[in-house]
Symmetry: C2
Subunit: 278 residues, 2 copies
Amino acid sequence: MSDLTGPDELLTEVLARYDDAPNERLKIVMQAAIRHLHEFVREVDLTRDEWMAGIQFLTATGQICSDTRQEYILMSDTLGVSTLVEMLNYSPTEGTTENTVLGPFYAAGSPERANGESMLDDEDPGDEVVVRGRITDPDGNPLAGVVLDCWQSNTDGWYQVQQVDGQSDFNLRGIYRTDDDGRYEIRTVRPGKYPIPHDGPVGSLLKANNRGWMRPGHLHTWVKHPGYKELITHIFDRKSDHLYDDAVFGVRESLIVDFTPDESGELAATFDFVLDPA
Amino acid sequence: MSDLTGPDELLTEVLARYDDAPNERLKIVMQAAIRHLHEFVREVDLTRDEWMAGIQFLTATGQICSDTRQEYILMSDTLGVSTLVEMLNYSPTEGTTENTVLGPFYAAGSPERANGESMLDDEDPGDEVVVRGRITDPDGNPLAGVVLDCWQSNTDGWYQVQQVDGQSDFNLRGIYRTDDDGRYEIRTVRPGKYPIPHDGPVGSLLKANNRGWMRPGHLHTWVKHPGYKELITHIFDRKSDHLYDDAVFGVRESLIVDFTPDESGELAATFDFVLDPA
């Protein structure tokens, strides 16, 4: 034992307890977490009361989690950590389409829909819109048969998985595929902005810091094609509120589209994807 | 919105969301926490799977908490954070007695005991011991009427508050006071080493890193006297195992005593306190 006469000696001793950790990667992660945790506590000179408030916040955040609610992911989202992890794990090559966060509302098993078919199975008061475009490789060659697994909120801001009793089974969910020329066409409704859950500890913390809990309207898509990196991204509506204060830091300029009347008078946006070879 | 083209731009944007935070102290704490959290994630280049393992660990740690179990304090203890917070919040002046962690087993309301009286109310197979000494100011002047609120585990390593049905109401708990010469004398049993709770997420993490979960035997005392800083500390038995790998980093060299036979043949240790003026 080094005598723990001060914070430096303490940190040295805590880190040394991992010298025999059998999993080298876990050891690296633990030691880095401990160093940053100690540095944080020392930097702000944390008081006992603040420490206890932190203990209570972390406890409450865990306790509100359930099969249908993940408050720690929400915390990660609102602190920008989820976006950071995405950035570190998916680096689009210059010129290929940017990714963004998956979010908590994806569900596998959406139905195949034909190009041009609407994902909207229910009544909805919003504007019908079209999202269309082309998917190519970085050289501009069309990619045929690319899968776009799509989901979005309705005009009121709710996803089907949040309202299993209030929406049809696959409302605003669908799997599209590009044609031989790499083209896809999705009919849908203008996606609604929505609040992230804010009635729990994370919401209280956002409120205490004058932070918002809204996300701008967007269409999610998970793009898959053999030989290319899987791309998880959103397409944002430039007309939506909260593009500039998305609570979870998901917006990228390159992912914002304008819905404008096309030749047939439909509100349409073009979004071309460039996939990144794996 | 700055376009979130990379981790640096992301961090700048996340921090900027706190520019209007109304509570200046909370803003400082949040911004420091966010910086260190992002630095940690970048430093270890956290993978998506590791991020999810972290989310699940934090969630499980919250979910196991109950009225009688605080797994987040346990996590703080085992990462050295509790000790660090104590160090930052109580800086003993050179020459005064060192503090250490409070621990989770303190309970108010212990009975007053006369000097020399035993705290041991129940049968116990261990060695009876005496802890005695003098409490002075930094100049060596005796302090009379100083309160020592004491508690410890029995030979099997259990505190009374952990075994409310298995031990007498105040077994191994007592409030002593110094006499006019500043002297105190506690009769008790040699305190047992014990495991911290290790059947939950924190225990699993300790095991995964080949870390122990034992604490060496010790007598807790909370020393109070008007005009002096409240001192929360332990007195450790040099004969106990785990002095050198205390799971919660509570041991200080200056707090270790030797129990040796005194003139009357009793196993006794002397521990003099020097209180720090407030």
